[in-house]
């Protein structure tokens, strides 16, 4: 079916469908036109241009910012690699995928298109513009390399891929915070998008294993473990995050002896982690419930120990089922980081609010909020796309497909 026929079938199958489609499409067109008109003629983007560094990294020392650029380059390379492996590699026993499926070709073109004019539109200097072009080229190059050559190294690639992001994360923390010979840049100097991403990624990486353990604990046959998990999960899920954040800022200081209590940034990161773990536990639990009992029994009857049976038979299936809910939780976690501005941290929203409080930019909040929305949207879209590619890769082939 060609794209035109598909559109006709999807949107204009019968008169009522057609009417609804026409109304919705024209509504969308009007809204889109107005927004574009506003963005291009009325909006004053000087507020973003003047504060782009502040919004991106807060008060991170200028002479150390090369470290962040290096990190961005590494992330770009890793993203390209993951993209290539998830989409470009053939899955065994399934029809060979092409190196560039049509969606990917479209995504690549869109990426090049955006990279070629957005930096200029934002009024960045030529040197910075060139960096963004290089980064885009790096993503696409790694995407191509991974798709083209990873097949030959399928075994090591399969082993290395799950380790890539955690390792990159550790390296990133060193680059951001210092150590190993780099000058220390304290957490109180991080801000803007940098702080938002550090908090969110820390909580995502740590809450995942914690959530899996809690979900297993909740189904355990040991009463202490089971009740402990239930109480924890239900307590956290029963309290709004903002109260936990305030509580944590105050209580962690009392609970832990002086010096051990982490500073405010890390305190918040831990609270986000503990919060998110409870929700992830529920997502994983629904995945565990979807795995038939017989799977564990078959594994145990073959002599696998409980950890072996869980790790090799039950969890791979459960996590595959729980993947969409898990990523949904990650996405809401990313958005929940905006609450950090309420406890006085200068995350993306906190920085934006301090910018808007400047009399110089009075009445420019629409521009700032729109920028924030687009930034968040891009991060969430990346998470969503990654999860769908992963999901497709992990689902075993069956007769019905």
């Amino acid at each position: 079916m060609g794209p035109i026929q598909r559109l006709r079938k999807d949107l204009f199958a019968n008169p009522l469908d057609g009417l609804v489609s026409v109304l919705l499409l024209s509504g969308l067109a009007v809204a889109g036109y107005r927004l574009l008109h506003w963005a291009l003629t009325q909006a004053r983007w000087a507020v973003i241009q003047a504060n782009s560094t502040l919004l991106a990294v807060g008060r991170y020392p200028i002479e150390q910012q090369w470290r962040l650029w290096l990190l961005v380059a590494l992330v770009a390379a890793a993203s390209g690699l993951s993209w290539g492996v998830l989409r470009g590699l053939p899955v065994r026993d399934r029809p060979k995928t092409t190196l560039w499926p049509s969606n990917d070709r479209l995504a690549a073109i869109l990426l090049v298109f955006l990279a070629s004019w957005t930096p200029a539109l934002l009024g960045l200097t030529l040197a910075i513009q060139a960096r963004w072009w290089t980064l885009t080229a790096l993503v696409l190059l790694m995407r191509w390399l991974a798709g083209r050559y990873a097949g030959r190294f399928a075994k090591p690639a399969a082993l290395a891929m799950p380790l890539l992001w955690p390792l990159l994360y550790l390296l990133g923390m060193v680059l951001i915070g210092g150590g190993l010979g780099l000058v220390t840049v304290g957490a109180n100097e991080w801000g803007g998008l940098l702080l938002t991403l550090v908090e969110a990624s820390f909580a995502i990486l740590l809450s995942f294993p914690l959530g899996v353990l809690l979900a297993l604990g909740r189904r355990s046959s040991l009463p202490m473990l089971r009740w402990g998990s239930i109480v924890y999960i239900e307590f956290i899920r029963g309290a709004p995050l903002i109260t936990l954040l305030f509580l944590g800022q105050n209580i962690l200081g009392f609970l832990l002896p002086g010096g051990l209590a982490p500073d405010r940034v890390w305190r918040a990161a831990w609270i986000l982690t503990f919060f998110s773990a409870a929700y992830l536990a529920e997502a994983v639990r629904s995945g565990l419930a979807a795995v038939p009992r017989g799977q564990l029994e078959a594994a145990r009857s073959l002599g696998l120990s409980l950890p072996q049976a869980l790790g090799r038979v039950v969890l791979p299936q459960a996590l595959r089922v729980a993947l969409p809910a898990t990523v949904g939780q990650f996405i809401s976690l990313l958005q929940d980081t905006t609450l950090l501005s309420l406890i006085g941290l200068l995350d993306l929203l906190g920085t934006a609010r301090s910018v808007m409080a400047n009399p110089l930019y009075l009445g420019k909040s629409a521009e700032v909020y729109l920028t924030l929305a687009v930034l968040f949207w891009c991060c969430c879209a990346a998470l969503g796309l990654g999860s769908r590619a992963l999901e497709r890769r992990l689902s075993p082939p069956s007769l019905s497909r």
């Binding site: 594994a299 009857s301 075993p396 069956s398």
Partner: protein
Amino acid sequence: MPSELMNPLSPAMIEARGVEKWYPNGFHALRGVDLTVQRGEVVVIMGPSGSGKSTFIRTFNALEEFQKGSITVDGIALSDDLRKIDAIRREVGMVFQQFNLFPHLSVLDNLTLAPVMVRKRRKDEVLQQAMALLERVGIAEQAHKFPGQLSGGQQQRVAIARSLCMEPRILLFDEPTSSLDPEMVREVLEVMQGLAADGMTMVVVTHEVGFARQVADRVVLMADGLVVEEGAPQRFFDHPQHERSRQFLAQIL
């Protein structure tokens, strides 16, 4: 297995004495069951649905606990000792009504998983054996497919091969053909018949009378958590001794 673990006084492969089981909800599912299975023997267990057949054979590899009585498998007494349970599970294979293949692993990986992880054998050596077993159950050409791509009969044959790959001394079957379409029942029964001919000790819960007559050394009838009657297939089917057996046979024959 170290020979000191074997009980020289009990040459039987499975020895169950007065086994009683209550489910956590208080239901008395096994009410004192005795059964002895000799080495190389094929025992078929029959009985109405809900009579405790599954519960009983699942106690042999500790998938179900029991509260009273004793069970000895290949000389090892089943107790709470987890190491003994692991040892027994390595020697006892089980084939389920629902196949229970691992859907996220290829057929070959289904076979090699346990030998590599549990017996710590080398992967390439296990792979050879796995291919030979798939050959034996007649599905070598499906080795690289996934369980979801196979028919029910093929899946059950893979499940049998998977159990065999652990080189068990006993195979337990819990209604292995009950969820198969009729035309696939035969291919599975033929594989099982071949195993019996090779001297495998087997305990089979099934309603396949033809299989029981041809292959079984002994048929056991269970009802309401008790063994009602046991005997050689000819005697059992042609001259049942108990009223309960006659009722049951009247229903299935």
